[in-house]
Amino acid sequence: MRMDETQRGWLIASAAILAVALAVFVPYAYFSSQGPRGGSAIGLLFGVVGFAFMIFAALLGARKRVPTWRVGRAQAWMRGHLWLGLLSLPILLFHGGFHFGGTLTRVLMWLLIIVVGSGVFGAVLQHYLPDIMTSDAPLETIYDEIAHVREQLLDEADRYVETWCGSLHLQLAGPQGASLHAGGFSAMRPITPIRGPVAAGIAPAAAVVALTEDESAPLRRFYLEEMRPFLDRPRARGQRLANEARATSAFEGLKTALPPAAHAMLADLEDVCEEARQLERQARLHHWLHGWLLVHIPLSLALIALGAIHAVMALRYSS
């Protein structure tokens, strides 16, 4: 969620709550004979409020499971999650009087710190990364479709090169009928191949091979040894085409080895590589955008569970 002026209301409200909490905590800590404790009335109040904030923050997950329930806009829940979740840390620190206590409370406090920390980290990522993804990967596609689009890119590149060099003798895995132009927009519905009399009326394209074997040798070598492996496994290390500047230089070098007629095709291949890089960039950014949740969510659940145990034990045995 973007941290902008639309958050002002929540910021002010949170600051006010924190100010009130501080106003309560400071005299309480100063005048309390035993120092601030979780078991005191004010300490318990901080504990209940902090735990309530935690519960509310955790309910966002449940809210997302029922997106059509009219229980408040998801956006409001998200803002509440962010600000109240953040507030829960100081409130619960006030609850414990900045002491981490025994084993369970110590674990709880560390869990809280990690959960809030990971949440803040996630919020920062989600503030900046959408912007970066939008500008750096303009050809982005749906994340789950990336593998499919890569297959299409590979298929498209194969066909470009085979048009100029003749058969590459490849075992093509991709669907031959899916002659979709790879691009930022992927067709989500299967495109029905033309059959029957209409297809019979369309003359098959002649197999034109534009370069002789000698002329095409540099392209063939470059494609089979460098570009195809890159399109196939873009994450492998040490690939020249994974870097934009080095890829440009590689294609410039290849241009000098091929006749000018083939330069337009090289530009197409360069575009294919650029799209593959963008997809890789998108996948990487996507992992950053959502990867932190792998830490945040399980620890949050653990925190709620342990928090509940702590509450029950504290209330049961405090008297």
Partner: protein, 711 residues
Amino acid sequence: MIDLTIDGNPVRVPAGTSVFDAARMKGIAIPTLCHLQNETPVGVCRLCVVDTGARVFSASCVRPVEPGMNVVTNSEKVQSARRTLLELLLADHPSPCARQQQSGDCELEALGRAAGIKEPRFSKRTLARGKDDSSLAIAVDHDACILCDRCIRGCNEIRNNFVLGRMGKGYAAGVAFDLNAPMGDSTCISCGECMVSCPTGALTNKGIVGTVIAAGDDAQLIEAEELLHLPVFKGISGTFLELNRGAIVKRRVRHGEIICREGEFGSTAFYLLEGKARVSISSPIAHVKTEGGARGFFKRLTSTLAVRDSDAREEETRDRTIPIDASVDLAYENPVAELGPGDLFGEMTCLNFYPRSATVRAETDVLAYEMLRNVLDILMKNKTFRAQLDQNYRRRALENHLRGVPMFADLTPDFIEHLKESVELVRYAPGQLIARQGEPAESFYLVRIGFVKISENYPGGELVLAYLSRGDYFGEIGLLGGGVRTATCTALDHVELVRISNEDFRQMIEQFPAVRQGLEKVAAERRAQNQQRLQMVESVPIDQFLSQGLMEAQSLLILDLERCTRCDACVNACADAHDGVTRLIRDGLRFEQYLVATSCRQCRDPLCMVGCPVGSIRRRNSLEVIIEDWCIGCGLCARNCPYGNINLHPFEVVAEDPDRPGRKRAIVKQKATSCDLCTHLKEPSCVYACPHDAAHRVDPRTFFAPLLGGK
């Protein structure tokens, strides 16, 4: 009797005989193009010139014999003159012409070959006179016409139809139908006489290539002679029927068998001769649910349709009918009707290649004619057949159509009876103008068959205001307002309309004030909407905005990519709200930092509506496009949507078994789905569920105004 000599042979013929005929009697062939034995000779091609010893050669077809005349038909000078004439005609003729390509018997090209002309010495015509493809039966290539007038004489002298004539002068001269109307729009009845008279490829039979109906055990080919004995073919040209052999068959269907199935594509129409057939929609009449959510694990695993009672739309408070491609409409509550002898069905499929709108099953043993569009077209031009069809329509469906107009629901039965007798049923060819903006308004129209485009001119172009289909109406604004048409109405395909005259319209609104109020209210709404659209068109200047079709949209689902974390909460919410089927795909074109998601845009020019065989995709008064629950899943709307925003989704439902009547079984039915804006809710689910404030449903005109710098 007159004695003369032809090529040295003495000949005796009655006075008044032409030289051409005299030579023929003697077995001497004189080449000709413009002359036919059964037509009055006109001597325009001059190819039959002979040397009679006069100062110039004479056209033998119009030159009467004279006593003692010495005729030479084949001298070198005569042959040279003919050769020059042939070269001149061939220079003005596309070679090979359509006839030469089809059957290799273009008379002009045959004569050219016989004279050894490979390439004429004269330069070819540079000015094209054009082609006319408007008739379903006959193709017209004006470039191949040699102005021999054989067609004109065939039409006027032999058939007495008086449709064909000459037009233009000099190089632009040609033949014309009526007052130079396209052949399909003219009064031509497609008798085929012109076509068989034509010596070249200027008028050729437009048999639908390779689509002769296959004969078999249940389909019997019919000879032209047999057809001509049938009342419905009375007055139709035998020549035409002969040329279109195989385009009509007599089909026998046994009791219980299916004649055609809803949703299937076809190209034929059926005319019932004997027996009864049941026409029905087998799709379950039920909505794809528009709300859902967590209702249990098992519920989420299945995909079902909600019965109408549990999910009725607001406007579905009164009885409605489902328009189909037959002479009857189906009742919403019980979409079944009966067809009998004399009924025609499949007209829209045959003429416009729309999918079949309903399933027709033989209730008894049925005998029917199945025909292709060229035969149907000529039948439709037959007065006897037309009258019979119109009578069926007036008797069975007109009342439903009239009552289908909400404002007409209160008309008394007497007045409806009056209208049934007084309305005119009119027919328009594809592209034909029905009414032009600015012309006097003289009638009110109800669409019976086909689609009508309503458009308005504005500086710099034409703006489509609406597409109207069966059951829709137009013309009330002009009649209620200043008596002038405010928009142009054009037939998009083969259109048939019910025309209510100005007098009847006036009588109706005077007699029924409620009708007047209703029509005035609708007219005011339409005028306001049209005005709003025109204002919008004038205020949007950006090319990209236009090229992405954003200007056409009334409501866009946009995702602010600088806020969107690609979490897919919007997609999940949409799926959750619509029975597990998402109607939005988080992909699409980008405009600035916004992604225009693949979700219905509620276009101002809703191309998706054109062609729906059962009229199940329509626009509400609030302008959103909705798909009615009797959608038969043919997929035409999905193909028509330029933005890929309509998808077909399979639903497993229990419905009547088409192979075993009376029994039910689980089948998979397709239904088209499109964003309905979650109109029953305050806010679309996708927008409501976006936690990052990235998804918005916006009016592009206002939302993008700051970016566009518009007004």
